[in-house]
Symmetry: C2
Subunit: 421 residues, 2 copies
């Protein structure tokens, strides 16, 4: 009997879900199949809470888990920490930094990376947030800015240290701004003697005329008012023109700030050799079964895939991961003459189940939008908290982390305020 | 009334204890006194458990706490994150990277740093363990070695990745070796497919004829046997001659290893301008009241101080911190005409209360020595665990961390196995 090899590129929500599902199917149905997951990092990241690591609310270990320990119960799964470099679609080979892998089925789930819209030189002065390393860099930058302000004698320089600019008013920018406002105005309020962290200036700059574009205008306006009440300055309709060290220039103005954070754009990770139709932001236009044209053995899932009506969010990646795992199981079973409990002869299309979206602004403050129905405030925050706690528990299986986190979170005393190289 | 300024250099066990005690005395007795603590890091480190961060058993946030949050309840205490550069003993001024501070009393508690015995060039190939950053570097090196071994095809190179050499058989070296043996032989045993982490080679090299010199010969021998049973190779009486990238040369032999850890020596941090009698390892010979000759206003405490009969351990630093806090309170009260509950006219000498020493070898295995009485095994480990849990709780005040830690620890499933830049 032919032995299949499934390769998964990327251990994010899409890739890890697909790996777990396929691992189970291989074990339970005794499919003649081996699976290899490649990722450049050794951990899966719970990205929706990464802004908390960046703002010292959570430790890196609270929101990341080694990919190996998530998958070590599946003997047929091999995990390799490598960088994927190139693909040969015709030969069905994936080339990595250390070698190459032949595949029968390939699942690409490489996600997005920070995109400075062609201004990569800005990356030195303006930190983006995508990896755990980014989160740590931003946390160090923020905490260091307060420390430098405390010992700085020149009031002008001091003000620069106490100014934080966030570029981009999407969910990431909004969550960073809210968490930064709470950090400076609540958590740190008693910590300094020469400066008053409450007086820090937190500015959110957005090129569009309103923040949180994916939400309804009403919710977006409520979020804006809420952030302003928390002390965040919001500048709208101002595209950024230039970023230098400690200075940001936008249409009609300029701000000096030692900490500038970039939450304005991401683009799909590019893989040389993957010459298929793409969106402007690099996402790959997939067919309705998430494969690419002419290659029914290559699936693209998660943020990297573009399919009408499916947003680039974690729940979509998870649903796609489950779908491709089932689809590949179906095909391998069919080709191996194994029977499945369901009728496996007909191909299926991926259907996205919209679970709505939510963004948190701060403690007790969040927005929830489910199709055309949206609400904000404390109830929205409770919904946000419960959903994240439940997802994080199933993901980490460590209740104690959550207890600890909830405790620190509610007391405004985050435990992760460590500056370290 | 004259206002006093006490400056503390260093936020380790000695400095932080002194700051907390003095903070309380200033507040309760209304002493006319301000206090400034300077440290180059923003956190206090629970050093006795740093080897756990280095071997992925604990997260950085579990064993470190921001100095500011430990001291923010004392309004008279100012914390500055700066590097101390030089001292002028005559003018009573401490110079730092950002300015200078005049003091009436100075407490120096700068601790030790890794010492390569004049071979600073070894530091690039051989990691020392003193700061939280060091702990993270070592953890990344260890985890990365396993990842590289997993994808390496050349068996010789693979063996190099799976060889870990620890130089120095003192408590740090022994704890690192034991934790590394458990990590590779227990925690990681199911994680890989191409390598067997159980077959990693863990070598402890010591120049002296036995490990753990401060302990009795009997305990040292028992520790050696215990480590060997855990799979650690112990090489005695072999001084290191040269360390290169991936290679260590010692008297009579050579080992190729991609990970070489240095636990063979430390020396006291040196402060330009502090021209006083010192030991060979740079520790300052203090008088019986912990001051330096000719300068009754300058105290040196913790690992940086050398006093006959007092070892360089955390309990000694804590006792010294309490002593100088009381001594300075006494002097300020006396000079300000305030009365104290005790007779304050007579100077006192520092007395060290020996609380014994202990070293852990692994789960359920430790050594305890109290003066001439020593024991090892499970009871010793329970004593070690209780003392560390109690100290860590009082230090962190966060029971949940301990619950989480104990749980992960007992299951051999440490949660901190994250590789990150």
């Amino acid at each position: 009997m032919r032995n299949f090899h499934v390769v998964i590129g990327g251990g994010g929500f899409g890739g890890l879900t697909a790996a777990k599902r396929l691992g189970k199917e291989i074990r339970n149905r005794k499919l003649p199949c081996k699976l290899t997951l490649i990722d450049k990092e050794n951990h899966h990241l719970f990205q929706p809470l990464l802004y908390q690591v960046a703002t010292a609310g959570l430790a890196a270990t609270d929101i990341a888990v080694p990919i190996r320990s998530e998958l070590n119960r599946f003997e047929q799964i091999d995990v390799r920490m490598e960088t994927i470099e190139r693909i040969d679609l015709e030969q069905k080979i994936l080339f990595s930094s250390k070698g190459s892998l032949s595949y029968d089925f390939l699942i690409l789930s490489l996600g997005m990376r920070v995109n400075y819209f062609g201004h990569d030189e800005w990356s030195s002065f303006c930190l983006g947030l995508k990896t755990l390393g980014d989160g740590r860099l931003i946390r160090n930058a923020i905490l260091n800015a307060f420390e430098q302000a405390e010992i700085e004698k020149d009031p002008k320089e001091q003000q620069k240290y106490l100014t934080f600019v966030i570029v981009g008013g999407g969910p990431t920018g909004v969550e960073l701004a809210g968490a930064l406002a709470e950090l400076s105005k609540k958590s740190l309020k008693k910590d300094f003697r020469n400066i008053d962290p409450k007086k820090s200036r937190i500015v959110l700059i957005e090129a569009a005329p309103r923040i949180l574009l994916p939400y309804t205008e009403r919710l977006s306006m409520q979020a804006r008012r809420c952030l302003e009440k928390m002390g965040v300055e919001i500048i709208l309709s101002r595209p950024v023109e230039k970023i230098e060290k400690g200075k940001i220039i936008f249409k009609g103005g300029m701000i000096e700030a030692s900490t500038i954070l970039w939450a304005a754009g991401v683009c799909a990770v590019q893989l040389p050799g993957l010459d298929v139709p793409k969106e402007k932001d690099g996402r790959i236009k997939v067919l309705e079964d998430l494969t690419i044209p002419g290659h029914p053995e290559v699936f693209v899932i998660g943020d990297m895939a573009s399919l009408p009506g499916v947003p680039a969010v974690a729940p979509a990646a998870i649903q796609m991961g489950k779908y491709v795992a089932y689809e590949i199981t179906r095909r391998i079973a069919f080709q191996s003459g194994l029977s499945l409990d369901r009728d496996v002869s007909k191909p299926t299309a991926f259907h996205y189940l919209d679970k709505g979206m939510m963004t948190t602004l701060g403690r007790g403050k969040a927005l929830v939008q489910f199709r055309n129905f949206g609400f904000n405030g404390f109830i929205a925050w409770i919904v946000w908290l419960l959903i994240h706690i439940i997802t994080l528990i199933s993901f980490r299986n460590r209740l104690s982390v959550l207890i600890q986190w909830a405790w620190a979170y509610l007391r405004f005393q985050p435990g992760a305020r460590l500056l370290s190289k």
